[in-house]
């Protein structure tokens, strides 16, 4: 019988739990850890802000690598060389009714525009997660800074991965019970975990009998339940093994509960704190897939003391004849880019070897529409940040000239290693990689 780490650990459970000391960076030393980006896990995340943008304040005049960032992108100036701007890519409706704030967002994330929330899952993040992130503690982590649990990450149509809206609940979920400090220097597997692994394994055995008793549609829903059980089993399996050490990891302290609300300043602060915690979670290999919602697609954000939400303003604010756009809506679009800056900064300030966590990630940032006043899904603004250890070519502006936005999704899948040849349906079906984006 081969002696594996698992069988060795099982052998230690002859009674009570034991503590196994593991000298830091000796037992599990990875010699090349600090030298090549290839040794750092590849991560993928999405970041959403609602209600679009002001094109003249966001789209650079030039394409290619030599371009100046327009006014609303000044906030992310520091990341200009770490991101690719994509403008002029359309969700092609092809006769599908445009449900405001839904069709564009889900069309971008699935390649399939839908007239309601009956999304044709899975979404892009789940597809990529199945490729790069299935062996972590969490399949994915979702966060929302503005108090809505909505999410645009779907494994199946009726089960979105809900967003955490509480910073404290998120902290407890990730860094509370069940979290193994990767640099603790000792490892203490718990007998109870072995017991629970056995329990869940037995529960999973009910699958075959139960599936025989239910309709086809219910079978798909119950399959999601068994899929959830598998993630739990995996979480416990990970707890039975010493975690790989992580350089520069600092265990975050439990934060104070921030003020809650939908006021822009409150949301930005909550979002900043959430981004920092999320970055620590990703750094500590708790997940490789993450989805952050700064504001929902029908944005509920407000300026403090104002009676009207961002979304309502897009409907009701008159266009300023001189400016040519809705000025208050423009303020929200501008502020949203501060949120993006904070998010990228949280990833970029974590050093991994000679690069940063952002360098080893790919972040797809996008909105749900271009000009919210008309709910236009043509020219939805997109930023791809982080090069994914060289898989994405950043520091450039690419114009889509009305091409289907599914080209972005296809290219990202291919960059992340999926063998996807074509993606999307109807006019969104495409096999055209955006070659310029591939690193």
């Amino acid at each position: 019988m081969a002696i594996t780490r698992r069988s060795a650990l099982k052998g230690m459970f002859q009674g009570a739990a034991v503590t196994v000391s593991l000298p830091f960076l000796e037992t599990f030393a990875i010699p090349a850890l600090a030298s090549t980006p290839a040794n750092y896990p590849l991560r993928f995340g999405t970041w959403i802000w609602g209600c679009g943008f002001i094109p003249e304040k966001w789209i650079p005049q030039a394409t290619g690598t030599e371009f100046e960032l327009p006014e609303h992108l000044r906030h992310v100036q520091a990341f200009q060389q770490k991101m690719a701007l994509l403008s002029g890519f359309d969700v092609k409706l092809d006769g599908v009714p445009n449900k405001p704030h839904v069709t564009g967002c889900l069309g971008l994330r699935t390649g399939i525009p839908v007239p309601n929330r009956e999304v044709v899952a899975p979404t892009l993040d789940v597809l990529i997660g199945d490729q790069i992130g299935s062996d972590t503690r969490f399949r994915s982590l979702e966060l929302s800074a503005s108090g809505t649990t909505n999410s645009y990450s779907y494994r199946a149509a009726s089960s979105p991965n809900p967003s955490e809206i509480s910073l404290l609940a998120f902290y407890d979920r990730v860094f509370g019970d069940g979290f193994q400090d990767p640099n603790a220097g000792h490892f203490a597997p718990r007998a109870t975990d072995l017991v629970q692994q056995s329990v869940l394994s037995q529960v999973s055995e009910s699958r075959r009998d139960l599936m025989r008793r239910v309709s086809a549609s219910d079978r798909a829903r119950l399959e999601e339940y068994y899929d959830g059980l598998r993630q739990l089993e995996q979480q416990i399996a990970l707890r039975l093994e010493p975690p790989a050490p992580v350089e520069n990891f600092e265990f975050p302290s439990r934060p104070e509960m921030p003020e809650l609300g939908a006021e822009m300043d409150t949301v930005l602060e909550n979002h900043r704190l959430m981004s920092k915690l999320l970055a620590r979670a990703v750094q500590a290999n708790q997940t490789r897939i993450f989805n952050m919602l700064l504001s929902d697609t029908a944005s509920n954000l407000r300026e403090r003391g104002s009676t009207t939400t961002h979304h309502t303003l897009t409907h009701e604010e008159p266009v300023d004849a001189t400016l040519g756009y809705q000025p208050k809506v423009g303020w929200f679009a501008d502020q949203s880019m501060i949120g993006l800056r904070d998010f990228l900064q949280a990833l970029d300030e974590i050093e991994e070897g000679e690069g940063t966590l952002l360098d080893h990630s790919v972040v797809l940032a996008h909105s749900d529409c271009s000009i919210a006043k008309s709910h236009a899904v043509e020219g939805i603004p997109v930023i791809v940040a982080g090069s994914g250890s060289g898989r994405i070519k950043t520091g450039q502006h690419i114009a889509g000239y009305g091409d289907p936005i599914s080209r972005i999704g296809l290219t990202l899948q291919q960059a992340m290693g999926l063998p996807t040849g074509q993606w999307g349906t109807l006019a969104m079906r495409t096999d055209r990689t955006i070659e310029a984006l591939i690193g």
Binding site: N150, S215, Y226, G228
Partner: protein, 543 residues
């Protein structure tokens, strides 16, 4: 004349050949079935199950994700909702907490003498525990093989960890993660005719119990079901009467109306503290309770006409609510029962803070949201989404004194051809509630301009919220809508095409009772239709 009659006869014969056979609707009491379902437990059902099985002390730590609302109800979404990885995590955390509590608090030992009497693991004892707790949590008797499997889980756990409580912890964990605990999975039972069958006995008991008690079946109901009593109308009536007269009916009525009125959403309702300083978090909590207390009193204590809920002036209030209602509340802490005065213009639950603040923006009222909610929640009418390419250029912001009131601003919508269809449906109703601001406080002007609250509802015109209250109370769709929602809630799905006659029958029973909600619940619980399923899967044809 004969020639004419002959022509008519020929015409009848010809038309008889040409026209398709009309669809015959069955008698309303004849069961037409529906799909056997796999319904995921709602948050309330999950929590109530724990309390029923383990008692009030059980820790409730589950963080429920946002429910799926379908056809206006969370209950109807339970047969459509999926299962995210987040849910699995949260159920697991809850299972661990309950199992640990049951072990460490002595609950297990006090409820199962065999645990206390044995110093180590005892398989016979594990079988007893598995059988009893399994039946309570999975809501059906367990087969011998299932009992063996559960006992085996406990035994294996004991072999892995020498802690004396481990087997019981493992046993409870496995039950609380069991798919048939988290899902109400129904099986087809004995046939009624060639195409329709009873749902099996355990599922009958489960349907009835969750409908009339918002909790799993108790031992008496489970035993009655196993005897086949629920398939016998008379024996079933006895069980229905028992549950209707039990204190748990109060809980069931509250859960239904909380679902129908989406009162759970109030937990996350935030208002701008600068604009509405009186709307402190306690107001949202008390507002939900106020509406539920009003409904409880009206429906259960007084057994009054459901329609009068839209004109009642009963006012259950607390001090925080009193500040928003601008009425004195002498009781310092807790509730007191008052009546809204005629001058308050508050008639009916649609004039409560719960409704008015929910269907409004964080910093302003919304005639459109309120109008749509009146139609969708109370009249079961569908209001379409706004078109994506609507032109809002004519609409001005709230602070603009050129168009000072919501009526002025929305008038622009109603003049625009692409908007007028929907706004003509919502606004004449919602504008009658413009006397109440976004938090629910009474006002007579907006931007210093007087508010005009006149409006109309499906042909009935009125001048103010009082007129709206009576128009809603007397609307023929008001009781029918409650019937539809109550049945969807009970069935956990949308209604089927062939259930139209059944629904008509329920409407008649409801009317004959003087529109007593409890009579309607009793009629559903006593009907064969509520327990019938198709013998073969069909393409679902929504009503």
């Amino acid at each position: 004349m004969k020639r004419l009659l002959g022509l008519i006869l020929v015409a009848i014969v010809v038309v008889g050949f040409v026209l398709p056979e009309p669809v015959r609707m069955p008698d309303w009491e004849q069961p037409t079935g529906g799909p056997a379902l796999a319904r995921r437990l709602t948050a309330v059902e999950y929590d109530n199950t724990l309390k029923t099985v383990f008692g009030a002390e059980v820790p409730i730590v589950l963080r429920h994700e946002a429910p799926l609302r379908s056809h206006g109800l969370i209950a109807a979404g339970t047969s459509e909702v999926g299962f995210s990885a987040f849910s699995a995590e949260q159920y697991y955390v809850s299972a661990q907490a309950v199992a640990e509590w049951a072990r460490s608090s002595g609950w297990l030992a006090s409820h199962f003498g065999c645990i206390e009497q044995t110093s180590g693991f005892d398989r016979a004892c594990a079988q007893v525990v598995s059988q009893k707790l399994g039946q309570q949590l999975i809501r059906r008797p367990l087969a011998a093989a299932e009992v063996e499997q559960l006992s085996g889980i406990a035994e294996r756990a004991g072999n892995l960890d020498s802690d004396i409580g481990t087997p019981w912890h493992a046993l409870l964990s496995s039950l609380m993660m069991h798919p048939e605990f988290l899902w109400r999975v129904e099986s087809i039972g004995d046939p009624i005719d060639s195409s329709v069958a009873w749902v099996d006995d355990a599922a009958m008991a489960t349907r009835l119990a969750f409908f009339l008690t918002a909790a799993p079946p108790d031992a008496a109901l489970m035993q009655a079901a196993q005897r086949g009593a629920l398939r016998d109308p008379q024996l079933r009536a006895a069980e229905v009467d028992r549950l209707i007269n039990a204190p748990t009916l109060r809980q069931a009525v509250r859960v239904f109306f909380e679902d129908m009125l989406a009162l759970g959403d109030l937990e996350n309702l935030l208002k701008d503290p600068v604009i509405y300083p009186a709307f402190v978090p306690q107001v949202a909590f008390d507002a939900k309770e106020q509406t539920l207390k009003t409904i409880e009193e009206h429906v259960l204590d007084l057994r009054s006409d459901y329609r009068d809920l839209f004109t009642t002036q009963a006012a259950w209030v607390t001090r925080p609510l009193g500040v928003v209602y601008r009425m004195p509340v002498p009781t310092r802490v807790g509730w007191e029962r008052q009546e809204f005065s005629d001058q308050s213009h508050r008639l009916g639950i649609q004039s409560h803070i719960a409704f008015l603040a929910s269907y409004a923006h964080p910093g302003r009222s919304s005639a459109t949201l309120r109008g749509a909610a009146i139609r969708e929640v109370f009249l079961c009418q569908e209001v379409p989404d706004p078109p994506a390419d609507v032109n809002f250029a004519l609409l001005q912001e709230t602070g603009n004194h050129v168009l000072p009131t919501a009526r002025d601003r929305l008038k622009r919508h109603r003049e625009d051809p692409s908007c007028m269809g929907c706004h003509a449906i919502t606004d004449p109703v919602g504008l009658s509630l413009e006397n109440f601001d976004g938090a629910g406080s009474f006002r007579t002007s907006e931007n210093n301009a007087p508010i005009d609250t006149s409006g109309s509802l499906d042909g009935r015109s009125y001048e103010d919220p009082t007129g709206l209250a009576y128009a809603l109370r007397n609307h023929p769709e008001t009781p029918r809508c409650l019937v539809e929602k109550m049945y969807r809630y009970a069935a956990g799905r949308d209604t089927e095409w062939l259930e139209r006659a059944y629904l008509d029958g329920l409407v008649d029973v409801f009317a004959d009772s003087g529109y007593q909600v409890v009579a309607l619940m009793s009629a559903i619980a006593n009907s064969d239709q509520f327990y019938s399923v198709w013998t073969q899967p069909r393409v679902v044809q929504a009503h």
